[in-house]
């Protein structure tokens, strides 16, 4: 197990004393196989107990620990030192207000996630003896990749449209809306269009594609959004041609989750 000396430049912001963020430098003796999060924990335990950052699982699944490492947002628990130079700069996710140090304010995302109705709007209860829906391999594959989102928000950190447009629902929320739209058990697409196909939904996305490039879980939100654009456009023109057509789970229908 080799040791390696790393210079960690961490963006600090202490709201009670700082007027703006500043970088603080720590010299950290690291093990070869460490990740950036290990180095931060070393700092917290041995050098500076006042450094704040979020983490929990240390296995790239809880989504707490995303931060900008040398310019790119990534999960710090999966940012291996072996892939990084000796000087590592760590910042909080961009496009979010900084609460303190590497901790950002997530209220906006949480509200947007709720707004896209990320839950099954069922057509009717399944009529099977065990009370479950049947799903073919293809039906599962249609939505599963979009269900892999860990809400780490790396995608929001690189999406310029999220930075420029306050209202924009953003890549992960829209990918999750698409995840339910694409689920064979769901009939809520119409109900979701309220937000998804509004002026703060998919139409704010200009297909920069950066979201999909940085996503640690290969969710491909850019794809989800473009597919939703096509579906919504088709819906729009169908509605124009056939006004008042009956739609399953349309806006009038309550999105009850009782099952």
């Amino acid at each position: 197990m080799g040791e390696r000396q790393i210079t960690l430049e961490v963006m600090r912001y202490r709201p009670e004393t700082d007027t703006e963020p500043v970088f603080q430098t720590y010299a950290v003796p690291c093990q070869e196989e460490w990740v950036v999060l290990d180095a931060l924990n070393y700092v917290k335990d041995n050098l500076d107990r006042s450094l704040s950052f979020r983490w929990s699982c240390h296995m790239a699944v809880c989504g707490s620990c995303a931060m900008v490492v040398n310019g790119t947002p990534m999960l710090s628990c999966k940012a291996f030192l072996r892939d990084l130079p000796d000087t590592i700069q760590v910042e909080p996710l961009r496009n979010f207000p900084i609460e303190r140090d590497l901790v950002v304010v997530l209220d906006d995302f949480m509200e947007k996630l709720r707004s896209v109705k990320p839950y099954i709007v069922p057509k009717e209860a399944p009529a099977t003896p065990d009370g479950t829906f049947r799903q073919s391999t293809k039906q599962l594959k249609m939505f599963k990749p979009f269900a892999m989102c860990i809400n780490c928000l790396a995608c929001y950190s690189v999406c310029p449209q999220y930075g420029l447009n306050e209202g924009f629902a953003g890549p992960a929320a829209l990918a999750l809306a698409h995840r339910y739209n694409a689920d064979s058990r769901d009939v809520g697409r119409k109900a979701r269009e309220d937000v998804v196909a509004s002026n703060v939904g998919i139409w704010e996305c200009t297909f920069v594609g950066a979201c999909s490039e940085v996503c640690p879980k290969d969710v491909d939100p850019a794809a989800a959004i473009q597919q939703t654009k096509i579906a919504s456009t088709v819906d729009y023109f169908t509605d124009l041609i056939l006004p008042g057509r009956k739609v399953k789970g349309g806006p009038g229908k309550a999105a009850g989750g009782k099952a």
Binding site: P160, L164, E193, D194, V195, A197, S198, N199, V200, G201, W203, T206, K229, I230, S232, T233, Y236, F237
Partner: protein, 117 residues
């Protein structure tokens, strides 16, 4: 929240993007570069031969469609790019961009009606 009317302009943008992606480079080549590069003789693009195609109402309609889609594609993308560049008066931008596209569409219509009808 109201459903957006963007599908209209976005539909034109997407359609235009696709059509221009397939056709623009070859049209640039045919009209502007093929003769100077010696791919065609000047005869190939003589007035009569061009009239035979564009003078035909169907030909004129196709060209009109292409020009329109190209313009609306460009107008919509310009609108978002202007926003990206930091000019955030989107309503104004939209008016100007789509206005210009409409003007261009009208001009193309006028010219092509004269050619073909």
């Amino acid at each position: 929240m109201a459903r957006s009317n963007k599908p209209i302009v976005w539909g034109l943008f997407a359609g235009g993007g696709t059509v221009t992606a397939f056709l623009s480079p070859v049209l640039v080549l045919v009209l502007g570069l093929a003769v100077p590069f010696g791919l065609y003789s000047a005869e190939d693009l003589s007035y009569d031969r061009v009239m035979a195609v564009i003078g035909n109402p169907l030909g004129a309609l196709v060209l009109f469609g292409f020009i329109t889609l190209a313009l609306w594609h460009a107008a919509h993308r310009t609108r978002t790019t202007v926003h990206d560049l930091g000019i955030h008066n989107d309503a104004m931008t939209a008016k100007v961009c789509y206005g210009l596209a409409a003007l261009g569409t009208l001009a193309a219509a006028v010219a092509l009606v004269q050619v073909a009808f």
